[in-house]
Amino acid sequence: DAGVTQSPTHLIKTRGQQVTLRCSPKSGHDTVSWYQQALGQGPQFIFQYYEEEERQRGNFPDRFSGHQFPNYSSELNVNALLLGDSALYLCASTRSPEGGYTFGSGTRLTVV
């Protein structure tokens, strides 16, 4: 079963740097959403991509940007990293319009 695959699993960056996280959706899924989960909190919605366009966006600054490729895979980019960006970044995929989300195991980003 080709579930949601995220890379890398762990990452350490320095304040001010830029980072790119990658996600391959579950087979058959065409919609990808990204979530940020700080320690002890529930996941918070960053944005959603469908047909290579950002369809919805949560309350995150423009430092957070993304991209979806023709094969439905997606990237999350974060510029000018802050210590507060340290979190588990989760990718979730689904098929529009049916719904039903599958999450990846996440990328643990540590900003020092």
């Binding site: 469908y50 949560g58 979730a92 098929r95 529009s96 049916e98 989300y101 195991s105």
Partner: protein, 111 residues
Amino acid sequence: LAKTTQPISMDSYEGQEVNITCSHNNIATNDYITWYQQFPSQGPRFIIQGYKTKVTNEVASLFIPADRKSSTLSLPRVSLSDTAVYYCLVGVDSGYSTLTFGKGTMLLVSP
């Protein structure tokens, strides 16, 4: 968006039945109730979803009263591996929707 309220934490022992209740007073007519389970450093995993009355699968049962203002996730005969955070979500289930998570309920199962 309908807000949910659930206990921050619960403790149980192996073999017991665990019931986690979630309040969602402002649930809309088209909203479904979905529960996810999350282990440390993993993504949330779908457990069960329902609209009204009772739903049962191989993992859990979901009880929803007629007014739909609350729901109860029931885990029969829990084991140590059921130690996790459980999230109750309310919303329309479609590819266009986004998931709104609260802080969830941390369930600790002890021997």
